[in-house]
Every structure is written in structure tokens, then in C-alpha cells.
């Protein structure tokens, strides 16, 4: 899995994705690819929810309270979501 996720670009949740909070985090379902994904804790859910409202993924992570030391792990999680088309780069900020 690629870890080259650009934290400094603007990202958004694909409009065809539905997110359902669960006790462990959240379930995501993409109606276009018909695939499920999982967010494994509440903080990554907060990050994903913040993507649309922030100029970069890094800013969304900061807004969700991700500690600096954990940024690489969150970048990997976001990278996996990008690869499964759950999130994509926003063309306009």
C-alpha cells in the first residue's frame, strides 16, 4: 500500500459515500464501487468529517486533535481511503 499521501492537499469525502458512526468508529459504504470500509476509531472519523471544511488534510488532522507524532499513521489511513475512492482530492479549495 502506498504511503505517499499528500497531507497538504485539500481532500473531500466522495459524494457517493455514506458514513455510519458505530461504537468502534464508523462504517463507510461507497455506492459507486459498492465497497465497505471501516474507520477504526472516533478520531479518524473526526478527521474524515473535517476534510471538506479544511484547506488541507493536515489542517483537518489538527482540527481533530491528532498529535504530531501520530500524523504518519493517519496519513496511511487516509491513503487507504483514497485508494478505495472513499476520499478524493478537491480540485478547488
Amino acid at each position: 500500500m502506498s504511503t505517499e499521501f499528500d497531507l497538504d492537499r485539500p481532500w473531500r469525502v466522495d459524494p457517493r459515500v455514506s458514513m455510519r458512526p458505530e461504537p468502534f468508529g464508523a462504517l463507510l459504504y461507497h455506492f459507486g464501487t459498492r465497497r465497505l470500509s471501516f474507520l477504526k476509531n472516533q478520531r479518524v472519523l473526526a478527521v474524515v468529517r473535517a476534510l471538506d471544511d479544511h484547506p488541507s488534510a493536515r489542517a483537518a488532522c489538527a482540527a481533530a486533535g491528532v498529535p504530531q507524532a501520530e500524523l504518519p499513521a493517519y496519513a496511511r489511513a487516509l491513503s487507504a481511503l483514497a485508494q478505495s475512492s472513499m476520499i478524493s482530492e478537491r480540485t478547488r479549495v
Partner: protein, 395 residues
């Protein structure tokens, strides 16, 4: 999807709403497949009405159930089927429906191809007509292929070709894949359960031990290209886990709503022991999912029972609850198709006198014609007594 062990442990405790909800809209069917899991054939007069179905969809929208797997019976024979599909997709509930293809006209295919929110699953149980029609009935293979051809011609990519694996079609795995590829479809293989009418044919149709091994190897080789509905997790005891949730999802992540609104723990468990409630009761489906005592008990962590001492328990988790139940095996012991052979040993050891549970409901077509106009001849010439032919009761 491949899940880390920790998430599987969380799923074991259940979710706020099902991931995979099967909704059988009708018991009516134009076919009489010998292995029908829901013993379908005739419509039940107590079927949910169109309005009642829409209230269920409203509930699913509120619970954020992403999609429902609609089946039957043959769901497309319900006159309001397309109305309900449209209602569901307009309410953010995606639809995947299973069909034998009988109603897939070119116009229907075009309409389906145009929607992101509707997926179709065509059932076919043999790559050749001889193998498939022996299980699903004469002409059914041709009907399914015609439907796939129409979907493909309409530009529908990635619909599903769904196959129940039997002793007679495991040798056709590559041929099924070729059919799916030919129509731009994705192959989905599922396990034969001894549920519904399947109980009557399971002993003759379930794969042999050697066939299970070759199926496992084939699934491993094809990975996530081939869907399985996570139904072969009992095979994971051969070695590496198969893709998917290697866990019985009954009442945890899956359940069934039947045509009369009864909610069962899983589509393969239509029996009163696995009946959690009814969507017509106060609180509806949401209340059944969240408060049923049956579901609460299914969401407790598995103890493993008789399988606990087996080194493969972490892989197979004891297998399928319905397969055990309808072959008369204890639920906390091995699956009847346990790849270590513990299930066949348990089946062999079971007393032939001990009763095997039967499905609670049966809507099979009556295969013996009912004669109403002709008077039955007297059994004996002297038996013109009105009680002739009746067994003597008390008195």
C-alpha cells in the same frame, strides 16, 4: 475486505444496524429449486403491503442501513417491486436484488444499468444447462443467460453471477468465471446450506471433502476478484483465512426480514428458534435489531464449546450455525462440513432416531395436484360409511 482480528472481535459484539440485511419480499416464485433456502413457491397471504414495506425502508434509512439484499422467492414477481426499489434508492437505501432473471427485459436492463444504487444478482447453479436445470428447473439456465446478456448489452458492468456450490458444479469453477467475464459480471459463490428445501437434498448435493479442498484452493487463488458473501469461512481451517469476515454474522452484522415481516437471525435460519420479532410490532425493525433477547444472546462472544480444544478454532470459529442446526448437530460443536472431519464424525455418531429440526414455514408449490371435482372411489366396496378412510381416533 480483510479485517484485522481486533475489528472482528468488535463485530462479534454486534453493530448499531446490520451491514448486510436480507429482505425476502415474497415467497412467490416461478421456480421450485430443490435447494431453496426459504422453501418458496406460493405467495403468503400475509405478505407485507406496499405501505408496510415503505415504512420498513423509512426505518432502514433512519438506521443508515447502506443497502438491502432483496430476495425471495422471486422478488420481481411482486407487482410493486420496482416501486419499492425506487422508494428505497430515493431514501438512500441501496438495493441489491437476487433474481432468476425472468423479468429482466431489455427495458428493465437499461433502467438498471443507469442506476448506481441498484445492483443485480443473477442466480445460476450450473455452467451448463444440464447441471443448473437439474437443481433450478427446466429452462432456468437459458432464462439466466438471457438476462445476463440483456444486462451486458445495456452496459451494466459488474452485476453479480451468483452460484450455490454443489457436488455437481465444483468442477465448473473456471467455466463460471468465464461466463461472468463474458458478460462483464462479477462471480459470487456461496455455500449450500441444509436450510429450507435444502435440507432434503443437502446430503446428496453438498461438496465432498476433496471438493471442499479444491474450492478453497480456487478461492485463495482468485482472492477478492470473486465474492463469497463470506460464506466459506469454515474452509479457513485449511490454512490462510479467506477474504472477508471470518465470523458467523447472524444477529451481529446480518439478519433476515421475511415476506410477512418476521425477523430471523440469518437468511439460512428460517426457524422459530432464530425468530427475533416482527417488523409489524411496536418499535418496528429498529426495536427488534436493538432489543431482541435472541440477538443479544447471539452477540455474546463465542465460547467455542466442543471446538475449543481444536487448534483451528480461531480460523473457522466453529462454522455455520444454520448448517449445524438443520443437520441436527449442536450449535457449540463442529460444522457438518468441518474440514478437519469432526463434523462428518459427529453426523455419523448422531442417533438416527434423534429428530433433525425442520423449517418452520414452507411455501413450496404443491406438486401433487389437488383434485376437487372427482369423488374418490370407496376403498372397499362396502366402505360407504362417511368415516371411511379416517384413522380411528379416541371414542
Amino acid at each position: 475486505m480483510t479485517l484485522p482480528g481486533k475489528l472482528t472481535d468488535l463485530f462479534q459484539l454486534g453493530l448499531d444496524a446490520p451491514i448486510c440485511l436480507t429482505w425476502e419480499l415474497t415467497y412467490a416464485c416461478n421456480l421450485s429449486c430443490v435447494h431453496c433456502l426459504s422453501s418458496s413457491g406460493r405467495r403468503d397471504p400475509g405478505e407485507l403491503t406496499t405501505d408496510e414495506c415503505k415504512r420498513v425502508i423509512d426505518t432502514l434509512e433512519r438506521m443508515q442501513v447502506f443497502y438491502v439484499n432483496i430476495g425471495g422467492g422471486e422478488p420481481t414477481v411482486r407487482p410493486d417491486f420496482w416501486e419499492l426499489v425506487d422508494y428505497a434508492t430515493a431514501h438512500q437505501v441501496g438495493v441489491k436484488f437476487s433474481t432468476n432473471g425472468v423479468k429482466i427485459t431489455p427495458a428493465v436492463a437499461a433502467r438498471l444499468a443507469a442506476s448506481d444504487y441498484v445492483d443485480v444478482q443473477i442466480s445460476l447453479d450450473g455452467a451448463t444447462a444440464a447441471v443448473s436445470d437439474a437443481v433450478r428447473g427446466a429452462g432456468s439456465h437459458a432464462t439466466a443467460l438471457r438476462a445476463m446478456s440483456r444486462l451486458s448489452d445495456a452496459g451494466f458492468r459488474g452485476f453479480k453471477l451468483s452460484v450455490v456450490m454443489t457436488r455437481h458444479n465444483i468442477s465448473q469453477l473456471d467455466a463460471f468465471k468465464a461466463i461472468a467475464d463474458r458478460f462483464g459480471a462479477q462471480l459470487r459463490l456461496t455455500r449450500l446450506r441444509p436450510s429450507g428445501r435444502g435440507a432434503d437434498v443437502w446430503h446428496d448435493l453438498h461438496p465432498t471433502a476433496d471438493q471442499q479442498r479444491s474450492l478453497y484452493d480456487w478461492l485463495v487463488a482468485h482472492g477478492e476478484q470473486v465474492l463469497t458473501g463470506d460464506s466459506f469461512f469454515h474452509l479457513s481451517a485449511y490454512g490462510a483465512a479467506l477474504p472477508g469476515l471470518n465470523l458467523c454474522g447472524a444477529g451481529r452484522v446480518v439478519c433476515l426480514i421475511d415476506p410477512v415481516g418476521d425477523v430471523y437471525a440469518c437468511p439460512f435460519a428460517i426457524h422459530e428458534n432464530f425468530l427475533a420479532g416482527n417488523v409489524r410490532s411496536p418499535g418496528g425493525f429498529e426495536s427488534v435489531w436493538r432489543t431482541s433477547s435472541l440477538f443479544a444472546s447471539l452477540r455474546k462472544p463465542d465460547t467455542g464449546g466442543a471446538c475449543r480444544s481444536c487448534g483451528h478454532y480461531d480460523s473457522c470459529r466453529g462454522g455455520c450455525m444454520a448448517a449445524k442446526f438443520f443437520t441436527g448437530l449442536p450449535l457449540d460443536g463442529p460444522d457438518p462440513e468441518c474440514v478437519q472431519g469432526h463434523g462428518s464424525a459427529a453426523l455419523a455418531a448422531a442417533s438416527p432416531a434423534s429428530p433433525v429440526p425442520r423449517p418452520s414455514v414452507d411455501h413450496s408449490h404443491r406438486t401433487v395436484p389437488v383434485t376437487i371435482s372427482r369423488r374418490r372411489p370407496p376403498e372397499r366396496d362396502c366402505d360407504e360409511n362417511p368415516l371411511a378412510g379416517f384413522a380411528a381416533s379416541s371414542s
